[in-house]
Structure formats: structure tokens, C-alpha cells
């Protein structure tokens, strides 16, 4: 098991955002976390990447307890998150942004190789390599965030709402790329509001409601689950 979250709870001040969440991610999987706005999806991501401290429970990565580990040290262990929305460095060029992704690494040859790989995955980024990140369109910024996370050569890639605010065409495209990344050997945990796409692509998925996991199963199962259909897929 690559990632194991055991009974994790998290507080924002006095408000409890997560009520004892448990989930697992195996090596080689794409696992999706779906749920409505405010269900705690992004919060779960923050707990895993270490941006927010947890109030209780344990997080195991690669067999090691990382519950109390600082966020930047988790990156060194191979856990990298592409933050939601506009989490890129607006003043840095595309190349500088990607370079920041490799901040924890010192193997120049490997970095150059990964840069080629990312620019191949996202030809748009290659075209705009000298442009400041802030001048990119929403979709391009999203791609940059994913590409930048890949530059750390993570064992587990955390994607927070990769399709947020994108046109349907781009959503397709970004999910195709996520599948491609996974086929190249990176395990992916993604948080999505776009349940349809996420469930279709994911091996397994969890449904989150008000800080609790209420359902889990394979992507296929949940895609056909009546209650999930009702609540998240927008079909009666």
C-alpha cells in the first residue's frame, strides 16, 4: 500500500472539517475522491500534503508514518500535490515554474529528462515556455500545475480539482493526460467535482460527504450506483 489514511480528523479553528477519514491508495492506481462543495475534498488533500496539521489519526506513506512530517519533507519522500486553481507562480515563466517543481532534486540529467517528458505531455506549455505563468489561460495554468508537480517525479501525485473552471474539451484533454501519466507509472489520487469523468478514469473512488466517507468502490461500481448517480452525476 502506497498511502494509507487512518481515521484522520482535521479542524479549522472550532469547525471540524474531517470526521475520521480512512482511505487507501495502492501503487499504480488512480483513486478519485468525489463529493459536493465543502464536503472536505480539498481539506483531505491538504492533510495528506501536510499544508494543514491534522487533529487526529494517522497518515502512512510507503509504510512510514508521516502524520507529523513537514510538507516540504513529504515532497522529498515522493508525495507531490498540484494545488487547486491558481496555485502556480504567476511571476515565474513556465520553465521557471517547472524548475520549481524539481526543487527537491539535484540530478540534472533526470530533471532534463522529466522536463522533456512534461513538455511532450503538454505541448501548449512548450509553446509558452518563456511566458510568465500569470499570463496563461486557466486551462494552461492547470496544465502547468500538473506538469510542475510531475517535475518532482512523485511516487504519488495529488491532483486537487484538475478540471476546475475548464471548458469541456479541455476537461477531456486533462483527464486523458492523467490516464497517460498513470500508465507511465505514477500513482494518482485526485479530488474532483466532475464525478462523471473522475469515476470513468479512476480504478477506485471514495465519496465524501460533510467530512465523512460515505461510500467507496471501483470507479465502475460508483458510476452505476443509484445514489451516486442521483447526487453527483446529474442524471435522474
Amino acid at each position: 500500500m502506497l498511502l494509507e489514511i487512518d481515521d484522520v480528523s482535521l479542524l479549522y479553528g472550532r469547525i471540524q472539517a474531517l470526521h475520521g477519514i480512512s482511505l487507501q491508495v495502492d501503487e499504480g492506481e488512480i483513486v478519485a475522491l468525489i463529493g459536493a462543495n465543502g464536503a472536505g475534498k480539498s481539506t483531505t488533500m491538504r492533510a495528506i500534503s501536510g499544508i494543514r496539521p491534522v487533529a487526529g489519526g494517522r497518515i502512512l506513506f510507503n509504510g512510514e508514518d508521516i502524520t507529523k512530517l513537514r510538507a516540504d519533507l513529504r515532497v522529498r519522500r515522493g508525495l507531490c500535490q498540484a494545488p487547486e486553481g491558481r496555485g502556480i507562480f504567476p511571476g515565474m515563466t513556465v520553465l521557471e515554474n517547472l524548475d520549481m517543481g524539481a526543487y527537491t532534486r539535484r540530478d540534472r540529467a533526470g530533471i532534463a529528462q522529466d522536463l522533456d517528458r512534461v513538455l511532450n505531455l503538454f505541448p501548449r506549455l512548450a509553446e509558452r515556455r518563456k511566458q510568465p505563468g500569470g499570463t496563461l489561460s486557466g486551462g494552461e495554468q492547470q496544465m502547468l500545475a500538473v506538469g510542475r508537480a510531475l517535475m518532482s517525479r512523485p511516487k504519488l501525485l495529488l491532483l486537487d480539482e484538475p478540471s476546475m473552471g475548464l471548458a469541456p474539451m479541455l476537461i477531456q484533454q486533462i483527464f486523458t493526460i492523467i490516464t497517460e501519466i498513470n500508465e507511465q507509472g505514477t500513482t494518482v489520487l485526485l479530488v474532483e467535482q466532475n464525478a462523471q469523468q473522475a469515476l470513468a478514469r479512476a480504478h477506485r473512488a471514495y465519496v465524501l460527504e460533510t467530512g465523512r466517507i460515505v461510500k467507496s468502490g471501483t470507479g465502475e461500481e460508483l458510476l452505476h450506483d443509484p445514489s451516486v448517480k442521483d447526487a453527483y452525476l446529474g442524471v435522474a
Binding site: I51, D72, L73, V75, C80, G87, P90, G91, M100, R148
Partner: protein, 369 residues
């Protein structure tokens, strides 16, 4: 109005392009010429040809010395505010730490009676400022934005009030007979005397060049990249594996050390230090200087620091319709700042990155609104 501004902007961008495009040797020659100009500046034989530039109401050498101190302070604060993006309102506190270290350890009026030479105390003053930067940073750098500004503001006030009320810091009576830097001319007279401010100016100028070289190298290293990433998006920086707290502390400490150095130099020139030299206003002026010049840009900080002090001092002895303009100097300075913030929020010499960040933030505001 806008067309003029655009023309100016285009002109400046072209100048930037030309500078970057020029061959290496051209840049070196130009840079050498600029440095030579500033070394020559305090000599009357030189500045008498410069028309209205020299100050009329006060000794130009003295003004240049204070300008150089402000430049040094601005370069130091620029690391904190410009590179790491931490709003520090109490930066002058570190200057005070440097100056008071010199005063306490060298002056015969100090209770300690150590009366060490100035040069011995120089590293101690810088080190103490650095340590106080770390001590202030450890608990406060977990705060962000406005909170940090408030805490640092409190720090500067604490230093000032301690200087006023703690017995051994002698309040307004202060410390006198603080020794000058060492060195003698061939004829045995000291290089660093009481009347002539020029040697001090040259000393600070030389140190500025060294500090700028150091800072420039630092900002082009992994440290600099980490600072810029923290400034642009602290969460994202952490998600990329940057130990943000450590690097913020680093920025704070190196800025503090430079502030302390400026304080040590100031005390070595002044001969006398008391609590009157550390008003809150100075912290604000330095911060304004960094923003005026273009925060995040070393050249901007240099220009801003020099200009801020010069602009204020230039009004001394100038009368218009029988009104002494010096009385209104801060009003003019404030007006300058307001106009700047409206038309050029990124500062006189903008940093390419910084400009993009500003645009990005504006976009965010529109999206949010």
C-alpha cells in the same frame, strides 16, 4: 497623460532591453563609469558642475553619507520585503541594535567601560542584529501578511522604548565619544575625522558594493528561487518542497544583519548615539524607499533608498514664496508616494516578475469581485 506615461514606459523598457542586449564589456564599462561617478560625487571640484543636484541647505558630503546608509538599509530590507515578500515595518529596529551595540561597547559614557575600538565591535554589532532577527523571526514568521507587519512594528517600538527608558541605554543623554573607524593618512591625521563626511561615505559605498554582490549571488541561487516562490505563493512553495519557514527566517536574518551593519557604520560616523535617531518614521521611510524603487529589485532598492533620503533633504534651505519648503518635506514625499502607487505600483525600476505578479493580482480582484 497616459500617452506620456506610455512613452516613458516604452522608453524605459527599451533601455532595459538595450542593457541586456549589450555586449558584456559595454556593460562593464558603463557600470564602472557609474561607480566612478558615485565615488567622485562628494568632491566639490566635481559636484560644483552638477547644477542643482547638490543640496544647498546642508553639507553635501554629509547628505551623501546618510543617503548611502539609507541605500544599505533599503538593500537589506529589500531581501525581506522584496524577495521573500514579508512585510516588515520594524526594520529600523535592527539598525538600532547595530548602533547601540557600538555605543555600549565603545563609548566611555557606557556603564560597561569596555571602550573597545570600533572595528572590534563591527562584527559583534552585525552578529547581534542577526541574532535579534532570528529571535524575532522564530515566533513571528509563522504569521502572515498584516499580522507580521504588526508584530515587527511592535518590535521596533520596543527597541526605541527600551532605548528611552532602560538605564544602561541612557535615553536622551545618549553615548558620546564613540570612536571612529581606524586608519591614518601618511601625515598621521586620521582618515575618519569629525569634519569631513566623505571618507565615511566612501566606506559605506564600498560596503554597499560588496553587499550587493553578495545579495545578487544569493538571489540567483536556490535560496533566491525559494524566496521568490514564497513571495509568489507560500502554499505552493511548500507543496514544491521548499522549507518555507527556514527560508523566511533566512531572509529575515540576512536583512537584519545588513540593517545592523548600517547601524554600526552610522554610530561610527556620528560619534554620538541617543534615542532620538530611531523614530518609527525611519522604518516607514525605508519601507517606502524599497517600494518606491521597485521591491524585488536590487537596483530598485538602491535607487529608492538614495532617492528617498535625497528628496527629503533636498528641500532644506529651499524657499518658495517665503515658505520654507523643508517644513513640508514629508508632505511632498507622501504626495510622491501616492502618485507612484496610482501610476506605477511596481516601483520606479520594476522587476519583470513583480510586474507580472501585480497583473495577476489585479486579475484575481476582478474575478473575485
Amino acid at each position: 497623460m497616459t500617452t506620456v506615461l506610455e512613452k516613458v514606459r516604452a522608453g524605459r523598457e527599451a533601455a532595459g532591453e538595450r542593457w541586456r542586449g549589450a555586449p558584456r564589456w559595454v556593460r562593464w564599462v558603463l557600470l564602472a563609469a557609474v561607480i566612478a561617478f558615485f565615488y567622485a560625487l562628494p568632491n566639490k571640484e566635481f559636484y560644483q558642475w552638477l547644477g542643482p543636484i547638490p543640496t544647498t541647505g546642508s553639507n553635501f558630503g554629509q547628505v551623501l553619507f546618510m543617503m548611502s546608509i539609507y541605500v544599505l538599509l533599503a538593500v537589506g530590507l529589500n531581501i525581506v520585503v522584496g524577495f521573500a515578500g514579508l512585510l516588515d515595518l520594524g526594520y529600523f529596529g535592527f539598525f538600532a541594535v547595530g548602533a547601540y551595540t557600538v555605543a555600549v561597547l565603545t563609548s566611555p559614557s557606557s556603564d560597561l567601560k569596555t571602550v573597545w575600538p570600533w572595528l572590534t565591535v563591527l562584527p559583534i554589532g552585525v552578529a547581534l542584529a542577526l541574532v535579534s532577527g532570528v529571535l524575532l523571526g522564530l515566533p513571528t514568521l509563522r504569521l502572515r501578511g498584516d499580522y507580521l507587519a504588526i508584530v515587527t512594528l511592535g518590535f521596533a517600538e520596543m527597541i526605541r522604548l527600551t532605548a528611552t527608558s532602560a538605564g544602561f541605554l541612557r535615553g536622551q543623554r545618549g553615548f558620546n565619544q564613540i570612536p571612529h573607524p581606524p586608519g591614518e593618512h601618511a601625515d598621521g591625521t586620521p582618515i575618519f575625522g569629525v569634519l569631513d563626511a566623505r571618507p565615511y561615505y566612501w566606506l559605506v559605498l564600498t560596503l554597499i558594493i560588496l553587499v550587493v554582490l553578495g545579495v545578487r549571488n544569493l538571489t540567483r541561487s536556490r535560496v533566491g528561487r525559494a524566496w521568490i516562490s514564497i513571495r509568489e505563493d507560500e502554499d505552493a512553495a511548500q507543496l514544491m518542497g521548499v522549507p518555507t519557514f527556514k527560508f523566511k527566517l533566512w531572509a529575515f536574518a540576512s536583512g537584519a544583519a545588513i540593517g545592523g551593519l548600517a547601524g554600526v557604520l552610522f554610530a561610527g560616523k556620528q560619534n554620538f548615539v541617543n534615542n532620538q535617531s530611531f523614530e518609527l518614521l525611519n522604518s516607514i521611510i525605508i519601507l517606502a524607499a524599497v517600494i518606491l524603487g521597485g521591491s524585488g529589485n536590487i537596483l530598485g532598492a538602491i535607487v529608492g533608498g538614495g532617492l528617498a533620503y535625497y528628496l527629503i533633504e533636498r528641500f532644506r534651505g529651499v524657499e518658495l514664496f517665503g515658505i520654507e519648503l523643508y517644513e513640508y518635506r514629508f508632505m511632498f514625499f507622501g504626495l510622491c508616494l501616492i502618485v507612484m502607487m496610482i501610476y506605477r505600483p511596481q516601483g520606479l525600476i520594476a522587476n519583470r516578475r513583480r510586474a507580472a505578479e501585480f497583473k495577476d493580482r489585479r486579475k484575481e480582484v476582478i474575478v473575485g469581485g
